[in-house]
């Protein structure tokens, strides 16, 4: 199927973002299609996180436009909370709520934002906890869980909103090596179900298996994009080649 027949769900045009004098995003334009799995790679400080965080406006951009699911998120009239309901996010540092049990973590936004009844929310939460393989921990507090388990709770929590897009900001970077696999497995399952995903990661095995498209960023700009195979076999830019050598 030619890509231009599919619906664009995230559209970024000439996006600039500065932290003081540092150019974090340098004229970034990008189309993300519904159902697409996009992996963003690049050295630290290259703007990957800023890019993904600007999709749900955790970072406000300085100029350019970002349209998410039909909402122009920089329009003052847009209710950003409505956009965020449709965009799930998973963080490097998990950010599960330590004062709530696993089940309460997944329930919270369903009750407060989606206004589901407690029974309905709990039903959905339990299905999702089963799906990420952590249902037996439902009544535990997060500090009793391993990093990998916490991250899977965070994924379930985001999925509970039934989002149209999932953002993963280096979801395995803070994990011990033996726990990376379980989190990637959950993400792969999600990809197989057709979820639209943007993933910032250094896991090239994951990129190769899951990504429809890979973007390489450096100094806030998109340097190169293509299929995972393209990056493994014949990256065209010198900087990309250097980076690929370093991480493989």
């Amino acid at each position: 199927m030619p890509e231009n027949k599919r619906r664009v769900i995230v559209e970024m045009r000439h996006v600039f973002k500065y932290f003081g004098t540092l150019k974090a995003l340098d004229n970034v334009s990008l189309d993300l299609y519904e159902g697409e799995k996009l992996v963003i790679i690049g050295p630290s400080g290259s703007g990957k996180s800023t890019l993904i965080r600007s999709v749900n406006q955790l970072e406000k951009i300085d100029s350019g436009s970002i349209v998410v699911d039909g909402y122009d998120i920089n329009d003052r009239r847009t209710n950003i909370n409505k956009v965020r309901e449709e965009v799930g996010m998973v963080f490097q540092s998990f950010n599960v709520f330590p004062h709530k049990t696993v089940l309460e973590n997944v329930n919270l936004a369903q009750l407060v934002v989606r206004r589901r009844s407690r029974e309905e929310a709990t039903e959905i939460s339990k299905q999702l906890l089963l799906k990420v393989g952590i249902l037996e921990k439902a009544d535990q507090y997060p500090h009793k869980l391993s990093g990998g388990q916490q991250q899977r709770v965070a994924i379930a929590r985001a999925l509970a909103m039934r989002p149209k897009i999932m953002l993963f900001d280096e979801p395995t970077s803070a994990l011990d090596p033996e726990m990376i696999g379980e989190v990637l497995e959950v993400m792969k399952n999600l990809a197989r179900e057709g979820m639209t995903m943007i993933v910032v990661t250094h896991e090239m095995g994951f990129a190769r298996e899951v990504a429809d498209r890979v973007i390489f960023m450096d100094y806030g700009a998109i340097i190169e994009e293509g299929t995972p195979e393209h990056f493994f076999t014949s990256p065209s830019h010198e900087r990309t080649r250097t980076f690929m050598k370093q991480i493989l």
């Binding site: 309901e85 996010m89 709520f97």
Partner: protein, 270 residues
């Protein structure tokens, strides 16, 4: 706090010098298992002295003790009402100090700066007589309002610090789920902040309890004022104020201990 070691001066493993000057009495650490800690000596000593005086010198000490309970009740009333009101003021002040809205932030900061720069006794006079000019507020309530306005400023700083201590990612996670700023505060940030806030709030409670003796100048019959009333009729100044001091000491030591036990419970439950 990472211990800073100076190899030149310390032959033995050096402990970091923590200069903790608080308003409250020193509570024995858990590891301090000795029977004769300063706290125990002070607390049980004070009780023993009171008992001795009341039983063996019942004139005038027994009479004094019988005269004071009404005052103790008033002292507690002022303290509890003030701390509740101060908590409410402190919450909004703390949130205000963190607000990105410049007007709100500026107002909250100004309040804190002004209040912290004026002695409590002066504030008490001021609010009592200033309020009295416009509305007729019972002395008890102007005392409570004055104490709460004063302690609310300090409480605001405690709330601010408590909220700031919560990792930024918590707010981001809540917001990324579509929760509003207010919902995120209520559901995610404040419940976590309360845990860190509780110990300093406890200290404020004890400090406020002691400072509440200042309201005795405002025709509020608290513990100190009851003592003064008794003393001025019987001319037993020394005996009465001895008793008043001992009762303050016992109450303060008791609450300090209670708070430290609560702290332990909370940190153990983490």
């Amino acid at each position: 706090m990472a211990p800073v070691k100076n190899p030149k001066t310390s032959s033995k493993p050096s402990e970091t010098a923590v200069i903790a000057v608080t308003d409250g009495p020193a509570i024995p650490l858990k590891k301090d298992t000795g029977l004769f800690t300063a706290w125990r000596i002070a607390f049980f000593g004070a009780i023993a002295v009171v008992l001795y005086l009341v039983f063996f010198r019942s004139d005038p000490y027994g009479k004094i003790l019988a005269f004071l309970p009404d005052g103790i009740v008033v002292t507690f009333k002022v303290t509890v009402l003030s701390i509740i009101l101060a908590l409410v003021i402190g919450l909004f002040t703390g949130l205000g100090r963190l607000s990105k809205n410049r007007l709100i932030n500026g107002t909250a900061s100004l309040y804190v700066e002004v209040i912290r720069g004026i002695p409590l006794l002066v504030q008490l006079f001021y609010i009592y007589f200033a309020l009295g000019r416009f509305v007729n507020v019972p002395a008890m309530w102007s005392a409570v309002i004055a104490m709460a306005v004063c302690y609310g400023a300090y409480m605001g700083e405690i709330f601010r610090a408590g909220i700031e201590a919560i990792p930024k990612g918590q707010m981001e996670a809540a917001r990324s789920l579509g929760m509003t700023h207010a919902q995120s505060m209520r559901q995610v940030i404040l419940p976590q902040a309360f845990k860190t806030i509780l110990p300093p709030v406890g200290n404020e409670f004890v400090a406020l309890l002691k400072d509440s003796s200042l309201v005795s100048i405002l025709a509020v019959s608290d513990l100190l004022r009851r003592g003064r009333e008794f003393a001025s009729e019987t001319f037993t100044y020394f005996e009465t104020y001895t008793m008043v001091a001992l009762i303050y000491l016992i109450i303060t030591l008791f609450f300090s201990k209670l708070i430290s036990v609560m702290e332990d419970r909370i940190s153990a439950g983490k």
